[in-house]
């Protein structure tokens, strides 16, 4: 950038800044996201994200809904990880009411959540590579995701918005043979992760485009409140499944992969590694799950949370996904605030983009991994 400016001065060429409108309809904004970019040549001087095109007022709507009625709305937040959203909300209510969840339900939830995490990470890898110009991975990941979605369909009856978790458990028990299918899926997915590793990780062009791009350190990430892979890529060890074990995560043996450089490549690679760790959890959960038992605990017919403020966060696919409930003792929340990881992670974007090349915009935006349904809520 410096050299370019000098050249312009030396040659007395008049240069002009250009305001480029990326989105709201743009192939690589992953939804309806608008980015006002001020560029000089192909160098980004400033970037201004404009959000809200997918705003549905979920938080406001929740104030008029009973607690069980809110669950389907959470499906539509991060629509790539609906199971995790379901769980995060139910968990918040369970914490507030101190509801005991049956063992079998807990295991089913963990299996579903980790499978969901894999599905979500798969899609990240596909879309990220698509953003970088490689077309095939996008089509490949959908084949594996399809198997997960099929499994979800068998247990919940839906492929995208499951509405499956309930306060105090899950809606249905697993159909006969379902757990065996999941068992068969684990080694299959292991092979596929190996395949992706060999196909993508070593690609010279991919490395050139992502290594050392969009770098930030742990301090910045913490200051901006980032979480999830965006934080762990800087080497900061923070995974809620480990640090504040919820559900039954303290029973499983898994690693929390950490990055070293805080660049886009680390963020990609952590997604890949985390899929492997999720598989480990699924495998252990399948071993430990009790054969029979109820899947829905004892829950009052009408759920009323005592007046007060309650917060509970879980490790979502994109970072800390939290539900903050303010209750005045009625059967509907007085106020529901959702801590949306995509929204929080997006804050750093303008700072990351400044001084970058236009082509890096896509690499950086893609690696932040936002889902607009969650950003706008």
């Amino acid at each position: 950038m410096r050299t370019m400016a000098l050249l312009d001065e030396a040659n007395q060429v008049r240069t002009e800044e250009m305001l480029l409108n990326v989105g709201p309809q743009h192939p690589s904004t992953h939804g309806v996201f608008r980015l006002l970019v001020k560029i000089s040549g192909e160098t980004i001087l400033d970037a201004d994200p404009v959000i809200g095109y997918l705003h549905r007022g979920t938080e406001k709507l929740a104030e008029d809904l009973q607690y069980t009625q809110i669950i389907p709305y959470t499906d539509r937040l991060d629509y790539l990880a609906a199971m995790l959203n379901n769980y995060a909300f139910c968990h918040a209510v369970e914490e507030a009411l101190d509801i005991q969840v049956p063992e079998r339900a807990e295991y089913l939830r963990v299996i579903l959540m980790e499978m969901q995490r894999i599905a979500s990470h798969l899609l990240f890898i596909g879309t990220y590579l698509l953003d970088l110009g490689a077309m095939s991975p996008f089509l490949y990941v959908f084949q594996e995701r399809e198997r997960i979605v099929q499994l979800f369909n068998e247990i919940s009856g839906a492929r995208l918005t499951y509405n499956f978790m309930r306060i105090g458990g899950v809606k249905y028990d697993a159909p006969p043979g379902w757990l065996d299918k999941v068992r068969a899926f684990v080694p299959f997915m292991r092979e596929k992760i190996k395949m992706y590793d060999s196909l993508i990780t070593g690609n010279e062009i991919f490395l050139d485009r992502t290594r050392g791009v969009g770098v930030y350190d742990a301090e910045t990430a913490l200051a901006y409140g980032m979480s999830g892979i965006n934080l762990r890529s800087t080497g900061f060890d923070w995974d809620l499944r480990r640090k504040k074990p919820y559900s039954i995560y303290d029973r499983f043996d898994f690693a929390v992969p950490l990055g070293q450089h805080g660049d886009c490549f680390d963020r990609y690679y952590l997604h890949l590694l985390e899929m492997g760790e999720s598989l480990k959890i699924v495998e252990q959960a399948l071993e430990q799950i009790p054969d029979t038992g109820p899947v829905l605990g004892k829950v009052p017919r009408l759920i009323r949370i005592p007046a007060g403020e309650y917060y509970s966060g879980i490790e979502g696919a994109r970072g800390e996904l939290g539900f903050f409930i303010v209750s005045d003792g009625k059967d509907k929340p007085y106020r529901l605030k959702i801590r949306k990881p995509s929204f929080v992670n997006l804050q750093l974007l303008p700072r990351l983009l400044r001084g970058q090349n236009m082509a890096n915009l896509i690499a950086i935006l893609g690696a932040v991994d936002i889902v607009l349904g969650e950003v706008d809520a």
Binding site: M18, L20, N21, H26, P27, S28, E42, L129, L130, D131, L132, G133, A134, M135, S136, L139, Y140, Q143, N203, I205, F206, D208, R209, N357, M358, A359, N360, L361, I362
Partner: protein
């Protein structure tokens, strides 16, 4: 028509002229036919590599898919943006298209030049004409009065210019070995061995530079979908858009023909007729391009430039020096 009369008086009789016209029409038809099935082939190959089926609805095995697509483009509304530079906007696709068809004239499809010209400076002719297309692309990007198109057009121009040089230099090695710029002579000079063996360095440079010239993955920056939506032809619709696509695929065919002619022995080969050998080699080159598209991500624009100037150009020069020294010695 006066110039025609002058030609006639200068000794060019009507019969050869008629031959030329027919030849041109035949080559155009061949070109269009090849393009139609190139697109079908590309979609099928991509489909197979990505675990899909590809087009299979229109006609048997989807063979008429491209015709259906062309028909659709033909009956689309021809939109000229209000703020566009109208005359340039209309002219750009034509400027881009004409040279892409003209370069086909010197590609020797078979042993005998039935329909094509046997120019003594064939290789140079190809390079010179293909450079004109850049103007069309740049004008198209500029005249659209769209920021994405402008960036796409500028990128294209920068990219095609910088890759033209290594492309030209890799060609010089072959010309040195054959001792002629005539493409037919170059083919004949490969009777003992194809130039891909002694000119392996030149061939590699040619392969990379040709991919970049064709704006194909991993050098498809000008139309980088994820950044520029579609590049220089965002604002084009209907048949004008088809012209740009046609240009691209005609060049793919022409470049494959050039590669086959320069490095792979053109129509030379045992048993089978010459034109079939040529077709096989062309198809192999085209398949290679599709294969790349299914495999590679895209380079970044600065990496693209530095790769051309810092890697390809020195290698091409090295190849040239080695060829010259060997040629002088032997």
């Amino acid at each position: 028509m006066a110039w025609l009369w002058q030609w006639h008086n200068a000794g060019l009789s009507w019969l050869p002229f008629l031959g030329m016209v027919i030849g041109a029409i035949v080559v155009l038809l061949i070109g269009l036919g090849v393009v139609t099935y190139e697109i079908y082939f590309e979609r099928k190959v991509l489909g197979w590599m990505q675990g899909r089926i590809g087009p299979n609805r229109v006609g048997p095995l989807g063979l008429f898919q491209s015709f259906a697509d062309i028909l659709k483009l033909l009956i689309k509304e021809d939109v000229v943006p209000e703020k566009a530079d109208r005359s340039l906007f209309l002219l750009a696709p034509v400027i881009a298209f004409i040279p892409s068809f003209m370069v086909l004239a010197v590609i020797p499809f078979s042993r005998t030049h039935v329909f094509t010209a046997n120019l003594s400076i064939g290789a140079l002719y190809y390079l010179a004409l293909s450079a004109i297309t850049i103007h069309g692309v740049m004008l198209g990007g500029w005249a659209s009065n769209n920021k994405y198109a402008l960036i796409g057009g500028m990128r294209s121009a920068a990219q095609m210019l910088s890759y033209e040089i290594p492309l030209g230099l890799s060609l010089v090695g072959v010309v040195l070995m054959a001792g002629s710029l005539n493409l037919n002579d170059i083919v004949s000079a490969q009777r003992t061995w194809w130039f891909v063996i002694p000119q392996i360095l030149g061939f590699l440079v040619f392969l990379v530079a040709a991919t970049a010239e064709l704006n194909r993955t991993p050098f498809d920056l000008p139309e980088a979908e994820s950044e520029l939506v579609a590049g220089y032809h965002v604002e084009y619709t209907g048949f004008r858009f088809a012209f740009f696509m046609l240009t691209e695929y005609l060049y793919l065919f022409a470049m494959a023909g050039l590669a086959a002619t320069l490095f792979l022995g053109g129509w030379l080969g045992p048993w089978l007729p010459g034109w079939l050998w040529f077709a096989i080699k062309v198809a192999a080159f085209i398949f290679f391009q599709f294969w790349l598209r299914a495999t590679m991500p895209r380079l970044r624009v600065d990496q693209l430039m530095s790769f051309s100037w810092k890697v390809l150009l020195p290698v091409a020069l090295l190849n040239l020096v080695i060829t010259a020294v060997v040629k002088a010695w032997v």
